[in-house]
């Protein structure tokens, strides 16, 4: 195993050396880095040109310059000694790269997590209901999203989601036609999702229509969009629903101990809602993180104390419920900060941003800054989500279909296991194996893959840094970005192989 990893790492270093040489030469070939100065009318033109030649060692031929760059890059093995050269404007590349990397990770992480969770869930459900209307609907949507150019979606989102929604917030009352339209859309969704006979599905559609229209009407009439919030009642209701849902998936409703443990966690969240508010008023990122950990631990403890023959089921059901209920309370607290955010002079009542990653010079507490990040990340995240969602749902569907046709699934059914156990324990876990490797590959590619999205939303991440540097024929930042994306991709390739062999004992890595 260790020899295998060592051999892979050595190969990876050699690949990286070869690829970085190619990229350096291509960047150098792609144009004249002195182009803008040659065309300028500055009186000290010659001096500026000489300055840049000295800064970037332009008097040395490109192949030799690559080895000069490599000499500095190799020292990055010791983090404090890192030297990736200077950008064309004299800024050290390590500095610019560090900032851009933080931005990119912020941008892609939320989209990646959401895409994986929603995509896999959709894929599993459509596989279980193969050839249903839902399956055809999701398949068509997956193909459609797959075919959407991200820049086109981005411009549409900016126009309708951002500008349209901001205009709506000025006077947050939904007209009757829109309420009916939303109700109709909801009815179609309910009809497609419902299973069974036609009358039953039409019944589901009617329920969907009434529910959505009623909720929209109440929200509009109470001016909810101006002063949003969940309130204790909604948290209690949703928490109970979550408790039932997670128990259903994790343990089955027959396991009463798991159900009571989950309900207890949800109840604890509701009881703690008021006592915790003063603490949340002085929140910091670290505090929220610690609270989240404490919530999960409390859930695990509740499940453990409930006892029974299978404590693991209680514990997972209670912990997931506790975490989600905690999330609801957090969401409610963010919503409480919404009016203050809207009234902020830097926001001026138009919260959903179309470009950038934060409002400059915004003053406010933890919640205001959190909302600010949220409103800036919303559109790029949706754009990225739509596109990666499609492929995950397809992979998950085909993987799950293959598993459901396996002999051991038939065996599991034949020995009388419940459908939940067959699907969740025997099929779902095995279907995740190929998805896990695809996820690892994708994360490797994602870091450098948001180039277009960053460009459209003027998000100062690595893709933006790369494109801007390439336009200026500035090799050092290009190489910096390449180095990061290349190392991440190689490492995640290795992780993908190791994960595969760890999850599937039939696959052994060659030592």
């Amino acid at each position: 195993m260790l020899t295998y990893i060592a051999r892979r790492l050595v190969t990876a270093v050699l690949i990286l050396l070869g690829a970085s040489f190619v990229v350096y030469q291509l960047t150098a070939l792609s144009g004249d880095p002195l182009h803008d100065l040659r065309a300028s009318n500055a009186p000290n033109k010659d001096q500026l040109i000489q300055q840049r030649i000295d800064l970037l060692n332009l008097d040395v031929p490109a192949p030799v310059r690559y080895f000069q760059w490599l000499g500095g890059a190799v020292r990055c093995v010791i983090p404090t000694q890192c030297d990736l050269g200077y950008a064309i404007n004299g800024q050290p590349v390590t500095e610019a790269l560090g900032r851009a990397m933080g931005m990119t990770i912020l941008l892609v992480s939320a989209a990646a997590v959401l895409a994986i969770v929603i995509g896999v869930a959709l894929g599993i459900v459509t596989a279980l209901r193969q050839y249903s209307t839902l399956d055809y609907g999701v398949t068509f949507m997956a193909f459609l999203f797959f075919s959407l150019p991200v820049f086109w979606v981005a411009v549409l989102l900016k126009e309708f989601a951002a500008i349209g929604f901001n205009n709506f917030l000025r006077d947050p009352h939904i007209p009757l036609q829109t309420i009916l339209l939303i109700g109709l859309v909801s009815a179609v969704v309910w009809f497609v999702c419902a299973a069974g006979t036609l009358p039953r599905r039409f019944g589901a559609a009617a329920i969907g229509f009434v529910l959505a229209a009623a909720v929209m009407w109440v929200l509009s009439a109470t001016g909810w969009f101006a002063t949003p919030g969940l309130g204790l009642a909604v948290i209690a209701l949703t928490g109970t629903a979550i408790a039932f849902g997670t128990t259903l998936l994790a343990a089955g409703l027959r396991n009463r101990r798991a159900l009571y443990a989950a309900l207890a966690s949800a109840g604890a969240g509701v009881v703690l809602y008021f006592p915790i508010q003063p603490l949340l008023a002085q929140a910091t990122g670290l505090m929220i993180f610690l609270l989240a950990v404490a919530t999960v631990l409390a859930g695990l403890a509740a499940g453990y104390l409930m006892g029974g023959y299978d404590r693991r089921q209680n514990m997972s059901a209670a912990a997931i419920t506790a975490f989600l209920t905690g999330g609801l309370i957090l969401l409610d607290r963010y919503m409480q900060a919404w009016p203050a955010y809207m009234d902020n002079s830097r926001i001026n009542g138009r919260p959903i941003a179309t470009i950038g990653s934060q409002t400059p010079n915004l003053r406010g507490d933890f919640w205001i800054h959190g909302l600010d990040t949220f409103t800036h990340l919303l559109l790029p995240t949706i754009a990225l989500l739509l596109i990666s969602l499609a492929s995950y749902s397809r992979y998950a569907r085909s993987s799950m279909l293959e598993i459901m046709n396996m002999d051991y699934i038939r065996t599991a059914r034949a020995k009388g296991l419940s459908e939940r156990t067959v699907v969740m324990r025997h099929a779902f876990r095995n279907a995740l194996i190929p998805i896990a490797t695809i996820v690892a590959f994708d994360i490797g590619g994602l870091i450098g893959g948001a180039v277009i999205t960053e460009n459209v939303f003027a998000f100062a991440g690595m893709g933006q840094l790369f494109i801007k540097s390439l336009e200026r024929v500035d090799p050092n930042p290009v190489m910096g970005v390449f180095l990061v994306t290349g190392i991440v991709a190689l490492v995640f390739n290795l992780i993908a192989d190791l994960v595969y062999s760890a999850l599937d004992p039939r696959v052994r890595v060659k030592a």
Binding site: V22, S30, Y136, L148, P149, V150, F151
Partner: protein
Amino acid sequence: MTTTTKTVKALKPGKAPKVSRPGKAGRAAARRQAGLSQGQLVRRRFLGNTAAVASLVLFVLILVLAYSAGGFLGLPGWWKYTHNEVTDVLNGGVPTLQLLPFSLGEHPFGQDRLGRDTFAQTMRGVQISVAVMAIIGLVGGFIGVVIGAAAGYFRGWVETLLMRLTDIVIIIPLIILAAVLGQVASRSVPAGVQPYFLGLFVGTVVWTGLARLVRAEFLSLREREFVDAARIAGASSARIIFKHILPNAVGVIIVSVTLSMSAAILLETSLSYIGMGVKAPDVSLGLLISQNQEAFSTRPWLFWWPGLFIVAICLCVNFIGDGLRDAFDPRQKKFNARRAKEAPVPPAAVGSGHPGSGRDLAGTDGSDD
């Protein structure tokens, strides 16, 4: 709906002979079945796939519209304006396309700020984008097949060398490499042929996935008995590769190339959008969107039409690729045992009332042994 029912009925006689019965009729049926070549089987399964056939028809219609309206190879098209012809802006450049009653009007897709006809521009953009897409797919497909086949067939140091080369190319994020190469192309090649050079360059870097796929396919095929037989009979390596192995791998290759073309059109439009692909005197769908996105609030049609054509082309190619995959390898759409358990009705009877049941049949078709 009606086409679906028709395909179901048309398929049924084709399926019937598959049930082999002893006797004269059975032998005749067997002969009829033996008479179906691999190509005929694939074509029959593909034609049973409503979504794929509809996509193919739509794709061909888009191509015919774009090439006949804009003209190509120096031939004039039937449309009265060319993509860079500046005329007076009529009525603010609002589109004149009418569906009921159908009439094109003076400028069916409207005009831009300078008075250029959006229909002519979009048609020119479709031509260029589809051409670039095809070049990327064919060049990438060719290189991928050659490298994958050589690595998989010859093994040894050839394989090591070629696969490390693949690793090097694959590690460089595709859009980054394409951007650098596009940049080089745009500075060293005259305008007019630039888009095709862009396709050529991008094609030389997108072959990696196919090369790995073809290598894996060759690795398993070269161990089969018919290859051994050919080798013992004294066939040369070239003959074994081209006559014995490649025809067996052609399904994988065609499907992969088709699906890579849909990725290629998105790649080309994205590159053009960020200014690294097709450049100004030339027109491409991505470039049109990039040029017109600022005008969204005043002239939304400049933005809608090129985008809709990208989505339509990409969607068609994806559905065609998916249909080809099902046609070449029906095992991938296994019959679901659970569905059979819950619905004891024969699939054909269930299918006739359902949309898209052609796919259903095509899926079960191969697994009735």
